[in-house]
Amino acid sequence: MSSKILEAKNITMQFGGLKAVENFNIQIHAGELVGLIGPNGAGKTTVFNMLTGVYQPTHGEIFIDGHRTKGLKAFEISHLGMTRTFQNIRLFKDLNVLENVLIASHQNTDYTIIQAVLKTPQFYEEEEALTAKAMALLKIFDLDKKAKFQSGSLPYGEQRKLEIVRALATDPKIILLDEPAAGMNHKETEALMHLISYIRKEFKLSVLLIEHDMKLVMGICERLIVLDHGVTICQGAPEVVRKDDKVIAAYLGVDAHLESNA
């Protein structure tokens, strides 16, 4: 029985009178790859924001690897092993590629300011180790040659990849990817699919994925949860979900659903 890396029980996000997400439940075990799908505005990113601590849920509880996250700040939740990428890329644009990745290692850095300022052997050794680790990660994603490039100057697809590398550098147990394939063409999306499967195996990660690209979703997700107007309307294996009436209606409208049955 593998452990539950992530569990959310009936979490609700209410902004004033608007319930952006209502009674959302999820359980992810170690190594699972789950997709969170639904039409635009369904509340998927809001779910991510609740899970990662950007928003405090109005109701409900979240557990990461058994630890309750109520009242924890986003950075504390990161320390528990949860990391993410953003829908609108949030790289540290003015910094170079390597620095973006190194920042994510700050939480695992042991040397103190005094040691840094005195440039002690420990400082040096840790910096070397961190840089080596960061470069190794970048190499997997074919970004190592651009280590000194300003991250804001990278092409869009590479910026998305860099965000993933950065997230991986936090040594996470679970990674939340928010539309990682947005703006990518077919070839890039294929490569991304392989990459996600690879990192999941290689780094023993659980993955929760928001995506609109159905090829990617159907291709790699083991399980899907479908959100519409903040409410979970279906969950299960991809083949089952894709045929579900409610899901089709949500994406294509009720008429399309009727048409497909005609």
Binding site: F92, A104, Q107, Y111, L118, K119, P121, T170
Partner: protein, 358 residues
Amino acid sequence: MATPAVLQFRKSFLAPILSLIAVVLAAEIIDHSFNAYIQLIFLYICINIILALSLNLVNGFTGQFSIGHAGFMAVGAYTSAFLSTHPSLFGYEIRFLPASLDFFNYPIYALAGGLTAAAAGYVVGLPSLRLKGDYLAIVTLGFGEIIRVILLNTEAVGGARGLFGISSPADITIAGIEISAFAQSFFWAATAMVLTFIFLWRLINSSHGRGFLSVREDEIAAEAMGINTTNIKVLAFVLSSFFAGIAGSVFAHSTHYLNPSTFSFQKSVDVIIMVVLGGMGSLTGSIVAAIIVSVLPELILRPLQDYTHVDLRMVIYSLLLIIFMIMRPQGIFGTTEISFANLMKSFFHGRKDVIKNS
């Protein structure tokens, strides 16, 4: 055979030692080459460099807009001056060194000034740094003024009349070699400046430094990557205040007289101008800007003022501020440090470059 790490550690002493030698040489050269007026300017250059570097840490590297820097300088200045004019405090002797070693009292005063200023920075920073942009600026402005008003109303440090008779080194002769008062003053001022620069340079190039930068670039992403952004901001603020306090101490012992009106918002603006001019995010830029701001008024403005009988310094400064923010907000050096390659790129390519080294 020592590991590369140990070798690097040993090598890291090179810069500080060489700098110290340079400081001693400079002290002697300036001592014997220039008159007292120019010697004072050299002291001001050191003070301004420390101020600009320390403010840049918060405004440039961490992206938080603090405009009350003069307040922390004042705290350091007054603490240091007070200690030097009071041989005993609450009945306790605080002079530990014999009179012959008075020279070594000055770093102690400076440290006390820096620590007090750091404490003030903590008190101000902790509640304020939750605020964003404009609001943080207003609160820091407010606190800067409050510190000034408190000093104005504190009789123990002279209040509105100011604090007189602050000690400074005296001419001494060691083993037949004459060491002038100025040489000693300059030694401490320049040493403080060098240490400030080395500290901040190494800090920026460490994991904590990257933490500051991440907060500047994108706080939400930084938090998501595990950075305690509040702590980082307060840390930057406290360190910045510490060095401002050191600068204040050097200032106090260079001018022998303190008045709260010196530490007004105008003084904070002076430092902001240095940081904006040099480039928010460039340590070497701050140094260059500090030198320019210390020297230019003497070279150009004072003669101009003698000629026109009008003090144009603040008018020109404010114009510069506006023009730079509109036409070249990254200042002279932007976020890059001085190296020949970068100099060429900065001037000819304008804003950002593809290859970025920190």
